[in-house]
Amino acid sequence: MLLELKDVHVHYGKIEALKGVSLQVDEGEIVSLIGGNGAGKTTTLKTISGLRSCSSGSVFFDGADIGSMPGHKRVLAGIGQAPEGRGIFPGMSVHENLLMGAYARKDDHSKELAEAYELFPRLAERRSQAAGTMSGGEQQMLAIGRALLSKPKVLLLDEPSMGLAPMLVQQIFSIIEEINRRGTTVLLVEQNAQQALRLADRAYVLETGRIVRSAPASELLDDPQVRAAYLGGDVGDAAPAGAAAAEAEAGTVALGKGEAAETKPEAGGAGPEAGKADGE
């Protein structure tokens, strides 16, 4: 097991954002964490990358308890993150942003740099442009590329599809798949549940700070309750990806609280072999 959260509680002041989250990510997997607004998805990622400290519970990475390790050291341990809202350095050029990704490394990073430019040719075109002046999609690419420069064992992606056009979402997701194929474990946080479930091996459903469901992604994709809550009801898989994405958003907003809350937490989850949704 590469990454494990055990009964993690996180507070913002008196508000409890995470109420005992446990999840596991195995090496080589794509694991998705889906849930509506305010479910605690971003908080979970911030807890893993060390931007938030947990009030109780523990975080294990690569066999070691990293609960008390400061954020900047977790990068060296192998946790890379593309933060929500892109979190790039707006005044730095694209190239400088990428180099910041290798900030903590002392070894040669030219291979990863070339790889980032190869995965995102768009970034190579904009090499010397100030990152803040780029479009949302390009900034998202930069955030992912920058995270790759730290040569992470696990890549945490926080809503890479947020605010992007459907075409671009497709593109980003296929690049995520490619990154995973090249050997990086991915933990993907998404509101765009449809897309995320098609990509992921396994998924967790997070709701108001608790994991309410965990299963192979394909299973969740077919699960009537999850479909009702996050995937826009009965609209078929046949719908084009863009439309489905939009519906997934709509579904989240119109989330019927009762149904989803009744789903019982399911311990364990399935292994990486569970297979992908054949939707792609």
Binding site: I15, N37, E84, F89, S93, Q129
Partner: protein, 384 residues
Amino acid sequence: MSENMKKSASTAGWRGALSGPLESVRTHWDRAPGWERWAVYVLLVVGALFLPYEGLAPIMSPESAWDTILFYPIGIYVLLALGLNVVIGYAGMLDLGYVAFWAIGAYTMATMAVKHGIGFWPLLPCGIVLAAVSGVILGAPTLRLRGDYLAIVTLGFGEIVRKVAENTNWLGGTRGINNIPHPPSHEGVWLFGVDLFTYKIRDARPYYYLLVAVIVVVIIFSKRLEASRIGRSWTAIREDEDAAEIMGVPTFKFKLLSFATGAAIGGAAGVVFAAKTSYVAPANFPFLLSATILAAVVLGGAGNIPGVVVGAFLVAWLPERFRGLADYRDLAFGAILVAMMIFRPEGLIPSRQRKAEMAEGGGGMGHMGAEVDTSGSEAEVGSR
């Protein structure tokens, strides 16, 4: 690498935003060969040495002694602004109590020299170190705060230092400390009709030259820092503190370092100031001065040394120049500041990077007000 980064950042990509003679000068400067840069540096220093020339006095300050004004407020403001620039311009932290570090430097000189007879030169490093240490003491518990909260705490710190000085007999209370000795003199070294190392009460020019020397050292120091890994870490923190942390920048350590560096420069200014005026009192260190220095940094262009120097010069000089307007000069000064913020919100001579940050909508003050400004917490708030 940083040279490369700078070059690539400043050539392509920026062209769209470039306009006006200032930008073309800057583009030229970015490509200028080494000898040209050095020539300009030397000219600037020589120009600074010529500033006290009597012929300039009627133009620059018809109502008050020009050479005195050059030392204080102009020279001291420039030095303080350079120090505050490290905190605000580089690391993007809003410090509203900066004057406290200046006071600590000045009081170090005052107490140690008057009560223990220690000379100026040993006290200069002492004042610098003491100010830096107090920067760390203030910073360690408070730098976990961001933006407005940090500003409030530093504002409080500035007032505390002043109040402590006011209420401590050992520090002279409200009456302060006088008869602070001047730096030791070495007579007979003449330059432009000034006895260069003769620190007496009558001639302000040697002190001014001393200050110029300190300013030059501080500028070189700042420039080196800016181009270093430390400078890049500060930039990352300023632009997105959370992102910096997850890139592996030990943000707390670097914020503390920036605070201590800024404080040290303030301390140096304090020691020189006390040695010149031979009198310090709590009234010399009001909150208003912290605000004025902040105005100088922002007006000139936070993060850009030429901008900061020009800003500080104007903020110090304009009120003196228009002394004839009596009480209206503050009004005029305020109007100029407001106009500046409307027409050039990024400052007179902004750093290019700052401009890009502002274009992105970060407010150009780095993460002042970060707690509501960072995209992460914004979404967090929005989602609740």
